[in-house]
């Protein structure tokens, strides 16, 4: 298992906004001005959730199941 380097704090809104700016054309998506705030808010929430997952150390050998069976 690799050492888990502590993650930097979640980027601020300006940094997340820059991600959204870069990703929209890459994905071929267009967002009207009024959609930006909610998209950013949702991206911030999912980034926070991902942060919780990324903070948890997992052994390299633990693979996702190609077909998950409970």
């Amino acid at each position: 298992m690799p050492d888990l380097t502590p993650l930097a704090p979640l980027p601020d809104d300006a940094a997340l906004d820059a991600v959204v700016d870069a990703m929209l054309p890459l994905l071929g998506l267009a967002a009207e001005p009024g959609w930006r705030g909610p998209i950013l808010q949702n991206f911030r929430m999912v980034s926070g959730a991902a942060r919780l997952v990324l903070e948890f150390p997992l052994p390299d050998e633990l693979e996702p199941a190609p077909r998950f069976e409970p």
């Binding site: 991600v19 959204v20 990703m23 929209l24 994905l27 071929g28 998506l29 267009a30 967002a31 959609w35 909610p38 998209i39 950013l40 808010q41 949702n42 991206f43 929430m45 999912v46 926070g48 959730a49 991902a50 919780l52 997952v53 990324l54 948890f56 997992l58 633990l62 693979e63 996702p64 199941a65 077909r67 998950f68 069976e69 409970p70």
Partner: protein
């Protein structure tokens, strides 16, 4: 009563009352009456002979476009065939009477829908049904049908069962075929029954089992009927109450409902699901990413035709790095192993279904412990860590006081739907759980 009389009465009740709860988006009137005549002349027989049912409108119904709660899907050609589970129910004599309202593309915990209007909670028309199987909750709680089918990716059977006060079953992931339904998150999608009694959902579950070669996610299991042993009780079972994560961030009455169920079942301990908050977070990431991938072409071509709340979440989900999603899937393996080890010492675990009762329609925030937070994502905090690893859950409606109902999740080890339903039945027989038809 003949099947024809039963279906005629059902259709009349829907005609009279559905405008109040907005459960149905389509009726299959002629088909239902024809089917009833076939049952009455003995051409169709089975344990559900003459029982009316309806399905969330993400199920394929021959002759209807499969809406999945959306505007865009209205342009799809009508489905050529019924979904597998509809065929199974009708082979057992049940009769489809229509398709039900739902949150757009199942990305929803509220039961609200900007295209069809919100489904309304039959026990308080100003309140949410919960979602995304909102029409399924409204139709059963209003007594329009005794049985409905829903889907549950992160809680969409268990949440409306709780808010509307009906029984629900989210079977083990991979147990029932998903073929012939509009998907949302391939990693987590489940289908299951909701109804007014444990007998109905157990009977429906039994006949819906069976191998379907059209569903490549279904696990090859023998049919394991639950109905013959439904009344065996819970003697000898070790039942625990989930603590830690599942006791925080909930209104006192949600925890009171769990205590009532625990006392009635003789629960004798607690169990802590390790890293449940992280499990919920991982489910959140995977759902957003997989849902966004599914809808990416529509987001490009028709963004204004989405419900804005769905669209903005999906667009955000499309930007999630693959490394995050893969990490969440690897965590899923870790969490599965950790939780399954809990079931070496316990047969059933009880947990609240939602942190609170049905919110008001249109409500967007909630306050817990004096802290205001967004409502939508927090409705599913207690359901997501369970469906994340596909455990079977019976959702049991409990009425701890004179107010609206709350739900208790009866969680079992994989493939032990029988134990979860036996506990639900025990609570029903003890009068702790009940699904009364709302006075409308």
């Amino acid at each position: 009563m003949s099947a024809h009389a039963a279906i005629t009465a059902t259709l009349a009740r829907i005609d009279a009352l559905d405008h109040r709860v907005n459960a149905f988006t389509a009726l299959t009137r002629e088909r239902a009456l024809a089917r009833a005549e076939a049952v009455d002349r003995g051409a169709v027989a089975g344990p559900l002979a003459g029982v009316p049912f309806a399905v969330k409108n993400l199920f394929d119904v021959a002759g209807l476009p499969t809406l999945a709660g959306s505007k865009i899907n209205r342009e799809r050609p009508p489905a050529a065939h019924d979904a597998f589970l509809i065929r199974q129910l009708e082979a057992a004599g049940a009769i489809l009477v229509g398709a039900l309202n739902m949150g757009e593309y199942a990305y929803d915990f509220t039961g609200e829908n900007v295209h069809d209007g919100p489904s309304r909670n039959p026990h308080d028309l100003t309140r949410m049904t919960g979602g995304s199987s909102g029409g399924s909750g409204a139709a059963t709680a209003a007594g329009l049908v005794p049985l409905a089918l829903g889907s549950d990716t992160n809680g969409s059977i268990r949440v409306p069962s709780a808010f509307c006060g009906v029984f629900g079953l989210k079977p083990t992931f991979g147990r029932l075929s998903r073929a012939g339904t509009f998907p949302f998150v391939a990693s987590f999608d489940h289908l299951g029954p909701m109804g007014c009694s444990t007998s109905e959902i157990a009977a429906a579950y039994d006949v819906m089992q069976g191998r379907d070669v059209d569903d490549h996610w279904q696990v090859a299991r023998p049919v394991e009927p639950v109905l013959p042993n439904l009344d065996r009780g819970v003697g000898g079972l070790c039942i625990a109450v989930a603590d830690g994560y599942f006791t925080r961030g909930a209104e006192p009455e949600a925890l009171a409902a769990v205590r009532m169920a625990a006392e009635a079942l003789g629960a004798d301990g607690t169990a802590e699901l390790p890293e449940a908050a992280r499990a919920r977070a991982a489910a959140y990431v995977i759902s957003a990413a997989e849902g966004a991938s599914l809808h990416l072409d529509r987001l490009r071509a028709r963004p204004v035709d989405f419900d804005p709340a769905t669209r903005d979440r999906l667009i955000a989900g499309s930007m999630i790095p693959a490394a995050w999603v893969q990490r969440a899937q690897r965590f899923r393996r870790w969490y599965r192993d950790a939780v399954l080890s809990l079931f070496e010492g316990v047969d059933l675990i009880l947990a609240p279904a939602t942190p609170f009762r049905a919110p008001r329609l249109g409500q967007t925030t909630m306050t817990l412990d004096g802290v205001e937070m967004p409502l939508r994502p927090n409705i599913g905090v207690f359901t997501q860590p369970i469906s994340f690893i596909g455990l079977p859950v019976a959702a049991v409606p409990v009425w701890p006081d004179a107010g609206l109902p709350l739900g208790v999740q009866v969680i079992a080890a994989p493939w032990r739907e029988d134990l979860a339903l036996r506990a639900a039945r025990t609570l029903e027989r003890a009068g702790v759980a009940r699904a009364p038809v709302a006075a409308l």
